[in-house]
């Protein structure tokens, strides 16, 4: 990759890229821990995850600040401009994902107080997928491999399918057993939060595609392989 002639500018961009990576790492960890807190019935971990959100919020502020400074000082154009504007949006999407991890942790705290309704099978699967989506979006962001970002968009369909399956199954359980309803609703919410994380990951992927290719793929159905 060619570098900017101005080394200080290059350093500012590097700083921004690294801050995004750090934030993504924390975000992924929060997803992992929120579901682990639920599956392992570990309320300490749930509380820790809720507390960690604060750090992610700080990351977002830091990224905003770096972007504003670069916009003001460098007036970036072309791929630099796309990078900066997408960085702002990505930080926002990641912040939303971490908020959802907090929401899951709160449900975990409630559910952990009650006897377990049923073994968690599809929920961890969904979590795996969501984590993969975030990771792929960020990998694409770092490496410039646009295919990874297109992958994320496809994975969203799998997440949606799992969400439907979980909802159907919970409905069955809840209609049979009135005692199960409250826990059922919490678990259903957890699935819903994961499904929304997947949507945010899809946004991340679309932002990365725009950044790499300069092509807006929001609200288009199928990813073209390479038309431009």
């Amino acid at each position: 990759m060619t570098r900017h002639t101005d080394k200080e500018y290059e350093a500012e961009l590097r700083d921004l890229r690294e801050t995004i990576l750090v934030m993504a790492g924390r975000c992924e960890e929060m997803i992992e821990n929120s579901i682990r807190a639920l599956v392992d019935r570990d309320s300490d971990l749930a509380n820790k995850t809720i507390a960690a959100d604060h750090t992610v919020n700080r990351d977002e502020l830091r990224i905003d600040e770096l972007c504003f400074l670069i916009l003001a000082k460098r007036q970036p154009v072309a791929s630099d401009l796309r990078f900066i504007t997408q960085a702002l949006k990505m930080a926002n999407e990641m912040e939303r994902i971490s908020d959802l991890a907090v929401n899951i942790s709160e449900r975990a705290l409630l559910l952990n107080k009650e006897p377990q309704l049923k073994p968690y099978i599809d929920v961890p699967r969904m979590k795996e997928l969501v984590q993969k989506m975030v990771r792929n979006a960020i990998d694409a962001f770092v490496s410039g491999e646009v295919d990874k970002a297109y992958e994320v968009i496809k994975q969203d369909d799998e997440v949606d399918a799992l969400y439907q399956a979980i909802t159907r199954e919970l409905l069955k359980v809840m209609t049979r057993d009135i005692e199960a309803v409250e826990r059922g609703i919490h678990i259903q919410s957890v699935a819903k939060f994961l499904e929304r994380m997947a949507d945010h990951s899809e946004n991340l992927a679309e932002q990365v595609i725009f950044m790499i290719k300069g092509k807006d793929v929001r609200n288009t159905d199928l990813p073209e392989s390479d038309a431009s």
């Binding site: 900017h4 101005d6 154009v77 072309a78 401009l81 300069g214």
Partner: protein, 254 residues
């Protein structure tokens, strides 16, 4: 290239003696639009715009091949009078260059005096109109008889624009018109470019990327005598097609 182009450049080459500095340039300059020319120092920007009004041939060893069609007519045709052509296609240079001994009024009229005799009352009208168009009238109307060199740099540059406008051209070529100006004078010239665009085709050479992005409708990127990319300015500055354009405008080594 569209039929409506004010100037169509077709397969243009240019040399200084044996040194070829422009190769196979094709470009269309549209009427009532601003076309920006960008590119690193020495890539041929000034040479290129000088080929558009036959000033290149005034330089020692200056040779041009190919076509420059002005309203569909080749300006290099034998029947074309270069002096008349330069009235239609005016030029503003990088450094404000008013004639120092001439008054503000005489500076505005300098181009006209070369080609025609004017009555005093007509001359006054031309002076006021050109200075108003150049957004300079209010600032100099009391000092029309003072030397042009007594104005500030930004005022001098607008005086040169007024001089170019006084002969009522169709096209205005500007070679880095703001490089010697402060941000306020620059903003004035850019504002002026916006209003001039309603009546003229403008071609502007600039080293300031933001200026090209702000004032122009189309942008051409030159590199070592070639036109690498020519397209809609918004496209060039958000997602250029060519890697070399991208690297140049974002300030990277090639």
């Amino acid at each position: 290239m569209t039929a409506a182009a004010k100037i169509s450049v077709v397969g243009l080459d240019a040399w200084y003696g044996t040194h070829q500095v422009l190769r196979r340039i094709n470009m269309a300059v549209q009427d009532r639009r601003v076309t920006a020319i960008i590119g690193p120092s020495g890539c041929g920007k000034s040479t290129f715009i000088r080929t558009l009004n036959r000033m290149h041939e005034l330089v020692d060893g200056g040779i041009v091949k190919g076509q420059v069609l002005y309203d569909g007519e080749d300006i290099y045709d034998k029947s074309v009078d270069p002096v008349l052509l330069r009235r239609r296609v005016g030029m503003v240079f990088q450094k404000p260059n008013p004639f120092p001994t001439m008054s503000v009024r005489e500076n505005v009229l300098a181009g006209l005096r070369l080609t025609s005799a004017l009555k005093r009352s007509d001359a006054d009208m031309v002076v006021e109109r050109a200075l108003r168009q150049a957004a300079l009238w209010e600032e100099v109307k009391e000092v029309l008889d003072k030397p042009g060199s007594s104005l500030s740099g930004g005022q001098q540059q607008r005086l040169c624009i007024a001089r170019a406008l006084a002969v009522e051209p169709d096209v205005i070529l500007m070679d880095e018109p703001c490089s010697a100006l402060d941000p306020i004078a620059t903003a004035r010239i850019e504002d002026l470019i916006h209003s001039l665009k309603e009546n003229y085709a403008i071609v502007i050479v600039t080293h300031n990327m933001q200026q090209a992005a702000r004032v122009s409708d189309e942008t051409g990127f030159f590199l070592m005598g070639e036109l690498v990319e020519f397209s809609d300015t918004n496209k060039i500055f958000t997602s250029p097609k060519d890697q070399r354009t991208e690297e140049y405008i974002t300030g990277k080594f090639g």
